[in-house]
């Protein structure tokens, strides 16, 4: 008999929701078959059987949230099945290898931990979890550079006030008011809250804004789409062109494509762009890998497909992790300009506003132009002002001379 446990499917996962059982009690299950769908903090993942057998018991019903390691089902030879027994399989699943040992797909925080894992005492790790401190950002003072509790406490104290904001919210006002409804936090909301709090507490943000003349870009896109459509291809959006331009500018300014990792910097050799997508109950950031090596059409097709699946919660974890830089576009809501919070462990994020008609002065004449404002939020531990400015300058150049984007 094998007990199936709620697996740990990502480094940040603490609990999971069984969204659907694909098998019923009494069903024969073979190794590799999908037994259930599990909603983690980020995605819906498929739970595969690790053994052959009969699903004898479902211990956690669909819809319930349980911590990792909780037994969720029992797989056996069928003798214990409540339902009419399916023909008993030859051998009951051999060693009770719990599903929890599922190798987690590449961690969402991978970039910060690409180097050697930081050495930390078990207590330091436990306190770090509790206080929401990222070990990668802490310098160890114990023997051999081991991170000890004192280091975590110092790091947590250095991050002003609000310790572990999402985990332990300051005593909320008592909700005895019928005008207020208590809404439990979704996993995705919890993780977003935790990660962004960490980001704002630990990464010293600075902001650079550029007003970019996108008159040509808008015309270019119209022209491009006409041609693409004639060729039967999909259209591209302004955002797709921005993604490609950002990727190109990052290639020319690698100093922005980095992560701060405590006692070192990680220089990312590849350019993986996260493109923030608002979904019903939170925010997810699908990643377009090697964006600098893809054509605008490829980027357009991939973003559309991923954004669609993101809204259905069907993105796989590895499709949302490993970004090296993110873009957040609120232009479609008419937002003129805003500053985004860096998505750790990345070192910068670009906030893109709406293109607006504005009057500009050119050679002493008033002219009507389309202006787009972008704001770069950068982690000053990793990126300096001039470095960020050079990147924005390059990006502006590309967007104002759009033929270069596809060159």
């Amino acid at each position: 008999m094998t007990e199936i446990q709620m697996p740990r499917l990502s480094d940040t996962m603490e609990e999971g929701v069984i969204s659907t059982w694909r098998k019923n009690v009494g069903d024969q299950v073979s190794r590799g078959e999908v037994m259930a769908e599990i909603e983690t903090d980020k995605a819906i993942m498929e739970l595969e059987a690790y053994d052959d057998g009969v699903l004898e018991k479902i211990l956690v019903e669909a819809g319930a949230t349980v911590p990792i390691g909780t037994p969720i089902a029992v797989l056996g030879d069928g003798s214990g099945a409540a339902a009419q027994a399916a023909p008993a399989p030859a051998a009951p699943a051999a060693p009770a290898e719990p599903a929890a040992s599922t190798p987690a797909p590449s961690a969402p925080v991978a970039p910060a931990e690409q180097g050697a894992k930081p050495k930390a005492s078990p207590l330091a790790k436990a306190v770090a979890r509790e206080k929401g401190v990222d070990l990668a950002t802490v310098q160890g003072t114990g023997p051999g550079g081991r991170i000890i509790r004192a280091d975590i406490e110092a790091a947590a104290a250095a991050a002003p006030s609000a310790p572990a904001a999402p985990a332990a919210p300051a005593a909320a006002p008592v909700v005895s008011n019928e005008d207020v409804e208590e809404v439990p936090l979704s996993n995705i909301r919890k993780v977003t809250a935790k990660r962004l709090t960490e980001s704002k507490q630990q990464a010293p943000h600075f902001y650079l804004t550029s007003a970019i003349d996108v008159t040509e870009l808008v015309a270019f896109r119209a022209n491009l789409n006409e041609r693409l459509q004639a060729a039967g291809g999909p259209k591209v959006s302004i955002n797709d062109l921005i993604v490609k331009a950002v990727a190109t500018a990052l290639r020319a300014n690698p100093a922005v494509n980095v992560s701060f990792a405590g006692d070192k910097m990680l220089q990312h050799k590849r350019i993986h762009l996260g493109v923030a997508v608002a979904i019903e109950n939170g925010l997810v950031v699908p990643v377009i890998r090697d964006a600098d090596r893809k054509s605008v059409s490829e980027i357009a097709a991939e973003s559309r497909e991923k954004a669609g699946r993101a809204r259905e919660g069907k993105l796989k974890l590895d499709e949302m992790s490993g970004g090296t830089f993110s873009i957040s576009n609120l232009g479609m809501f008419g937002i003129e300009q805003f500053s985004a919070v860096i998505n750790p462990p990345e070192a910068a994020i670009l906030a893109v506003g709406a293109a607006r008609d504005e009057v500009q002065v050119r050679d002493g004449e008033f002219v009507a132009r389309k202006i787009l404002r972008v704001t770069l939020s950068a982690d000053h531990r990793a990126v300096d002002g001039a470095v960020g400015a050079a990147f924005l300058q390059q990006l502006t150049g590309l967007l104002e001379d759009p033929i270069r984007i596809i060159a």
Binding site: S121, P122, L123, A124, K125, A126, T141, G142, P143, R146, I148, R149, A150, D151
Partner: protein
């Protein structure tokens, strides 16, 4: 409440138990006429007679075996083995018979005997007379092994051992016989298998038993007075059953631990404690568990060498400092 020696506490307890229960009798070498090598049984032959205070030949296997037989038939023998080193002669009776009879015969008979015996080095008695081989017995299921460090605990645990229906190794330490402590006028039998937090604290846990529990207590008080280090001291008192819970609970509180033992390091009691800590308090550890033990040599006769080989207050203090440095709580 009286302040008496560890020796006196043992003597008083034996006498009280003999008065209380006429099934209790003493047996061993030189315990009668000579009144015991360490004078624990002084005056008892005169008071209780030869039937209840029995001198034996120098034949450990024989008289331990006799005690096992007596216990099986309903008496409560308290054997004195002159030193733990001589218990090796009786190893078969202790390990193969006393420990196993209850289980092997389906509980039809038990062996309610106590083997009192002193051990430990530091008295310049040479390698074969200065051992801490409690581990040999603590290893054996079916035996209970207790090792009190204070006069009050000596009394409470000896009461419990005599009244226990299983064979109990009652370990004394030569260095403790003359130590003094408060003993309440009325002492209840202790619960065998229960450790004691002899000094509460928050900074580090020091775990010891027998002589080293006393050393740990002194070191902890000194550290508190001199440096404001608030160490918690856990006196195991019983090696089997072993109170893992109290140890784990303490380490969960302090985050680090030093184990002090008079026996040898490799495979020692400390290794067992360290494993228990790793099992029960892994997520609470801020530093590796450190052990202080005797040098792994047959104990030398020469005084300076013997001193150097045994763990001391200094070596324990150093280990505490090193551990606290490792967790950033001492500069």
């Amino acid at each position: 409440m009286a302040v008496i020696t560890y020796r006196q506490a043992l003597h008083d307890t034996l006498r009280e138990e003999m008065l209380r229960d006429e099934d209790v009798f003493l047996i061993g070498e030189e315990i009668g006429v000579f009144e015991g090598s360490y004078k624990i049984t002084a005056g008892l032959l005169k008071e209780f007679g030869e039937k209840r205070v029995r001198d034996t030949p120098i034949a450990e296997e024989g008289f331990v075996g006799a005690a096992v037989g007596a216990a099986m038939l309903g008496l409560r023998p308290v054997v004195e083995l002159m030193t733990i080193n001589f218990s090796l002669i009786a190893l078969d009776q202790i390990v193969n018979h006393a420990a196993k009879i209850y289980g092997m015969f389906g509980g039809q008979t038990s062996v309610p005997m106590v083997l009192r015996t002193p051990g430990g080095g530091g008295q310049q008695l040479g390698a074969t007379h200065s051992q801490n081989i409690e581990l040999y017995y603590a290893f054996v299921p079916g035996l209970k092994v207790v090792a009190p460090s204070t006069p009050a605990d000596a009394k409470a645990l000896l009461l419990a051992s005599i009244r226990d229906n299983d064979p109990v190794l009652f370990l004394e330490n030569l260095a403790l016989y003359n130590t003094k402590g408060e003993v309440p006028d009325v002492v209840e039998p202790a619960e065998i298998g229960k450790a004691k937090v002899s000094k509460p604290g928050t900074d580090i846990t020091i775990i010891g038993y027998s002589r080293m529990a006393m050393v740990a207590q002194q070191v902890a008080e000194q550290l508190q007075a001199d440096e404001g280090i608030n160490a918690e001291v856990v006196d195991l008192r019983s090696l089997r059953p072993l109170d893992r819970e109290t140890v784990v609970e303490s380490v969960r509180k302090t985050g680090c631990a030093v184990i002090a033992e008079d026996d040898w390091l490799t495979y020692g009691i400390g290794a067992e404690i360290a494993a228990s800590i790793s099992d029960g308090a892994f997520d609470y550890l801020d530093a590796p568990v450190r052990r202080v033990a005797a040098a792994e040599v047959p104990l030398p006769y020469a005084k300076p060498l013997e001193r150097a080989a045994l763990p001391s207050a200094e070596s324990l203090t150093t280990a505490v400092h090193q551990t606290l440095e490792a967790v950033g709580r001492r500069r």
